[in-house]
């Protein structure tokens, strides 16, 4: 009830500003994910996509009221994180945290070095329901591995 009253007090412009700013967070996250993987991503995980090439995966952010969609590709240069729901996803990853924690979760995945140990590090988030996966677990893991840049040589310097 309080929310409804507060909402009605906001004028149209304020609602627009709020929506644009909220949308910006997701848009900027998608832009940066693309840049980071393009610049620092490694080909290995992409080469292991195999028969899953072309499958769609959705990553939902309920707290940000939006989603990314990805197509699994076998080459880093074709990787693209797009805004919006997937048409026919084989897996849906739900990032079930508050808006302010969403960047932390995404960063943690990207920062990890691609490997089994990193997958094990994600499991606690899965068990505590911060990350929910609907559909193909394997496809979701393959996407996460493509996004991991932790093996880039810059981390060794």
């Amino acid at each position: 009830m309080v929310d409804i009253i507060q909402e009605s007090n906001l004028n149209e412009r304020a609602i627009r500003a709020r929506d644009l700013v909220r949308e910006t967070k997701l848009l900027n996250l998608a832009r940066m994910a693309n840049i980071l993987i393009d610049l620092y991503g490694l080909e290995d995980a992409f080469q292991r996509i195999g028969k899953r090439e072309g499958q769609e995966i959705e990553m939902r952010f309920p707290s940000l009221e939006g989603a990314f969609n990805f197509t699994l590709v076998s080459s880093k240069e074709n990787f693209e994180c797009r805004i919006g729901r997937a048409r026919d996803p084989v897996a849906i990853i739900i990032i079930n945290v508050k808006a302010e924690k969403a960047i932390k979760i995404i960063s943690e995945i990207i920062r990890l070095p691609d490997g089994i140990v990193s997958i094990l590090k994600i499991i606690p988030k899965y068990l505590t329901r911060k990350l929910k996966i609907k559909g193909s677990l394997i496809a979701a893991i393959k996407l996460c591995r493509c996004m991991m840049i932790g093996k880039n040589s810059m981390y060794k310097r």
Binding site: A30, M32, L39
Partner: protein, 429 residues
């Protein structure tokens, strides 16, 4: 009663930019190692602080003044106002969002604004017509291009926004500088009348003095760039431009330059190249870097081993402004304004620019030039070929021309640009 939220929402694009800067900053901090792209992390931190401060002040009701990038923001510091650089907003959002500000370019195209005008101005124009930004006044010199002259008056005639025009002469001599100095002072008074404030030149002096300090540091960075390998990463060029657009006259700009200089000195001392790769090619971009993809700068450092020594916003070798009295200060401001990046090059014949480029190539040991022929900048249309011939004859180095819109990826895609540079760089190695 003043509604802070409502007043703050006069500059929604700043709120969007602030969100981008904060999100990008947090991602970079969490993901990249501490010593990677220091100019980016420092630039994000300081710009975010300044934009956050402006949003706060907008909430207090300070007037919103839209200005051309070549009417430096520090000149507006004689007022309590929020400076909004039109060109800066469009281009920096084009870098930080997946589709940039394309919907606002399209909005203006749909209203009949020619597609080939400068996207830097078209973006914010579209935002104005979409109702997400409201200016109390606009100020722009009558230079450097037809886009500026054609686009700014759209606000005056279609949005009834007061437009202040300091008249900038073409000729550069003592009389011209004195004329433009008078123009600057008179137009600041005119702006003061519009927003109901008296210009405070003592306050202006303090901000000019900060810029003088920045200028000294900038010149030291330019000096360090003579070293092989270049101790400054490519992204500095983009964030140097960003600092000029958003941080002018502010302590944060000085802090940004301190951060960059500290890293550059250390790298110079250790003969260290950025990016963990060898510097293979030293390039000069006599015009702009690609704003819709600032990551191209990083890609060049890492994948090609190509340094960008300068772009047009970063070879401005100006002198400090004498602030001992108002007359000298305004004369210095006029000189700086008329020799500001793109003003100096656009409102003159090509000869001085070609001479500058040839000298830069020799002094900084450049291996090549890359000329981004931005669709909006028709005044530079034939420059690429003339410069190419001059560089070949005088220095014996090649020039690559890329036709594009530096703020709109739909004209020439990033992949196309990368391919052109890859092939060009193979001919150099």
């Amino acid at each position: 009663m003043v509604n802070k939220l409502e007043l703050g929402n006069r500059i929604i694009p700043y709120k969007i930019l602030f969100e981008c800067l904060e999100t990008t900053g947090e991602l970079i901090e969490r993901i990249l190692p501490e010593n990677e792209i220091p100019s980016l992390s420092s630039g994000l931190k300081h710009t975010s602080k300044v934009i956050g401060d402006y949003i706060e002040k907008a909430g207090e009701g300070w007037p919103i003044i839209g200005h051309h990038f070549a009417f430096q923001a520090e000149y507006l510091s004689c007022f309590d106002c929020i400076p909004v650089c039109l060109e800066g907003i469009s281009f920096f959002l084009s870098a930080l969002l997946p589709d940039g500000v394309e919907k606002y370019y399209d909005l203006m195209s749909n209203r009949g604004h020619p597609f080939h005008t400068c996207s830097s101005q078209k973006g914010v124009m579209g935002m104005g017509f979409d109702g997400i930004i409201k200016f109390d006044a606009l100020i722009t010199p009558t230079a450097p291009c037809d886009n500026t002259v054609g686009s700014y008056q759209v606000y005056k005639h279609l949005k009834d926004t007061p437009l202040i025009l300091p008249d900038m002469p073409f000729i550069r001599n003592v009389e011209s500088y004195e004329y433009y100095a008078r123009q600057l002072k008179d137009r600041l008074y005119e702006l003061g009348n519009v927003i109901g404030q008296e210009p405070d030149f003592e306050k202006l002096k303090r901000h000019i003095e900060i810029e003088n300090k920045v200028n000294t540091k900038e010149l030291e960075i330019f000096e360090l760039k003579k070293a092989i390998p270049c101790p400054v990463e490519n992204l500095f060029n983009a964030w140097g431009a960003g600092a000029s657009l958003f941080l002018s006259g502010r302590q944060e700009k000085l802090d940004f330059y301190d951060d960059v200089l500290e890293v550059a000195r250390r790298r110079y001392k250790n003969k260290e190249n950025y990016g963990g790769t060898e510097e293979k090619i030293r390039s000069i971009w006599p015009f702009m870097v690609v704003f819709f993809s600032l990551d191209l700068c990083e890609w060049l450092d890492r994948e090609i081993g190509m340094s960008i020594l300068f772009d047009i916003f970063n070879y401005s070798f100006t002198e400090p402004i004498d602030t001992s009295d108002d007359e000298k200060m305004f004369l210095g401001m006029a000189k700086r304004g008329m020799n500001y990046p793109m003003m100096k090059q656009s409102i003159d014949f090509y000869d001085p620019l070609i001479e500058d480029c040839v000298n830069l190539a020799k002094v900084y040991n450049a291996d090549c030039f890359i000329f981004t022929a931005h669709i909006g900048c028709k005044q530079f249309g034939s420059f690429g070929q003339i410069l190419r011939e001059a560089l070949r004859d005088e220095v014996g180095i090649p020039l690559l021309i890329i036709d594009l819109d530096v703020g709109d990826q739909r004209m020439t895609s990033l992949n196309h640009i990368k391919n052109k540079i890859k092939i060009f760089s193979q001919t150099l190695l």
